[in-house]
């Protein structure tokens, strides 16, 4: 029983897209689909401008909007607080995708790419509305999610939010990391340093 969360330090992030590539490899995704997407924003007035990059994925909310609206109960929170999907129950109604304030859901189907890739990843994508699962298959083996291990600037920290001694909990306090749009009330568990 843990309560897994993540910290993403956008100041350290160099926007290299390695996390999204690792995610595609881990989940057997086609090259044009991803569970991580990037938002950009320009700030300031010329010549003092800067560009903000923000990698966004499923925020593994404590009170997930997608779970609440899912008619079949296919989307649920497992005992470690990871929001996962039971593919065998998903009917592809996409209500979760509309309800998620972070636009973190992706509908995948096997006509999009070669079957081999996602079968290797142990998945069946049959028009189900998929999402980041914090690489549950790795985490259950005591490993870290693919996007965390691959990050070249160590901008991502994964860990247990319930453990005050974890690297994650300490980093959140130290760096004053905050979740995205906490005002929406879904209690997201990815903390951002911005």
């Amino acid at each position: 029983m843990a309560r897994y969360g993540m910290l993403i330090d956008t100041i350290k992030c160099v926007n290299c897209y390695a996390c999204s590539l690792a995610c595609q490899t881990q989940n057997g995704l086609p090259d044009d689909e991803n569970f991580i997407y990037f938002l950009e924003k320009e700030e300031g007035t010329f010549p003092n401008v800067k560009r903000d990059f923000l990698p966004v994925q499923c925020q593994h909310c404590d009170e997930p909007a997608c779970e609440e609206v899912c008619p079949t109960g296919a989307t649920y929170k497992d005992e470690d607080g990871i929001v996962v999907l039971d593919n065998s129950k998903c009917i592809g109604c996409k209500y979760c995708g509309v309800a998620c304030p972070y636009s973190a859901r992706v509908q995948l189907h096997d006509s999009m790419y070669k079957k081999g890739t996602y079968e290797d990843a142990g998945r069946e994508y049959n028009y189900t509305v998929e999402k980041c699962r914090f690489c549950k298959e790795l985490v259950d083996n005591g490993e870290q999610p693919a996007c965390v291990t691959t990050c070249i600037s160590n901008a991502r920290i994964f860990g247990d939010l319930d453990d005050p001694e974890s690297e994650l909990s300490k980093a959140i306090v130290e760096k004053k990391a905050k979740p995205l749009r906490a005002d929406l009330g879904t209690k997201p568990k990815i903390y951002y340093v911005r």
Partner: protein, 303 residues
């Protein structure tokens, strides 16, 4: 645009029409109480069934993972009553069975108990409201206004009345003379719809930046033609003007009730005009769903 597109707009539209058409049938019975409208009542109740069936078919077609694995549809009621999709599917399924039964009783000219009508009316109102609540509860700023479910209900009933008029007049031209009381209801709904529509846009534009972007997309952006041309002009201005003129004219010349006037006034011109005006209302109802669905912009998380 969110993950929901054209198919969901068509589905919400058909569900609304079906509910509205059934309500028209009940209005013939309880509000107008005119024996001469018996064919309109039957047409309205019969029309509601295939329209709702088609809508349900489209909903299943849009949920591809369920389409290819039909047994998964059995899980649809797992999240009662928290998921509006579960609740709505339950309401619509019950409504569909009730429509089939009520339609059968009408077909056999059997007595329809009042409780059937009351249950049907409740389920019809539930269906119409659900089409608005389904998207109103999603986290899309433009959809999160209290007006949306009311607007969808009113527009659904108004498009349903229009569809029932067309079906009824196709069956028997003479009912065109006796639908004036229903036309008054219809005109009231259309005016209320216009009021709700603009207050929705006003409230949405003033409460949230993202919702304001949706509104400008509708008023002056890529959806402007659908909005001003399809919804406002064809769907509201034409029917409101035409029905107002008709009601004013009707007041001036009150036809004697015991005369069968169908050969005088329910000529081809009148019938074609009714098809055109009611067709315009239905088209407007479709434009409304399409615009509301297409104008959705997800929440800006990068504040």
């Amino acid at each position: 645009m969110t993950m929901w597109g054209m198919l969901i707009a068509i589905y919400l539209f058909l569900a609304g029409i079906s509910a509205g058409s059934y309500i028209t049938g009940i209005l013939c019975d309880w509000y107008v109480k005119d024996e001469r409208l018996i064919k309109l009542r039957k047409a309205a109740i019969w029309l509601a069934t295939p329209v709702l069936g088609l809508g349900l078919g489209i909903l299943i077609f849009d949920a591809e993972a369920g389409l290819f694995n039909p047994w998964r549809m059995a899980f649809l009621f797992n999240n009662l009553p928290f998921s509006m999709m579960s609740t709505g599917t339950l309401i619509i399924t019950l409504f569909f069975f009730l429509l089939v039964w009520h339609g059968w009783l009408e077909f056999k000219n059997k007595f329809v108990p009042n409780w059937v009508k009351v249950t049907g009316l409740v389920l019809a109102l539930g269906t119409a409201a659900y089409t608005g609540l389904l998207i109103g509860l999603a986290q899309v700023p433009f959809w999160n206004t209290p007006m949306l479910p009311i607007l969808f209900s009113v527009s659904g009933v108004s498009a349903g009345i229009a569809a029932a008029f067309i079906a009824g007049v196709m069956w028997d031209k003479s009912i065109i003379e006796f639908i004036i009381p229903l036309k008054k209801v219809h005109l009231g709904l259309l005016v209320f719809e216009a009021f709700l529509l603009f207050s929705l846009l006003y409230v949405a534009a003033s409460r949230d930046v993202t919702a304001a972007q949706s509104v400008s997309m509708i008023l002056t952006g890529e959806l402007a033609l659908w909005f001003w041309g399809g919804l406002v002009f064809i769907g509201l201005v034409i029917p409101i003007t035409s029905e107002s003129i008709e009601l004013i004219k009707h007041k001036q010349v009150e036809p004697p009730l015991d005369l069968n006037l169908q050969h005088f006034s329910a000529g081809k011109g009148e019938v074609m005009k009714l098809y055109f005006v009611e067709g315009a209302t239905i088209f407007g109802g479709f434009c409304l769903r399409l615009i509301i669905i297409s104008a959705a912009i997800p929440i800006n998380v990068m504040l």
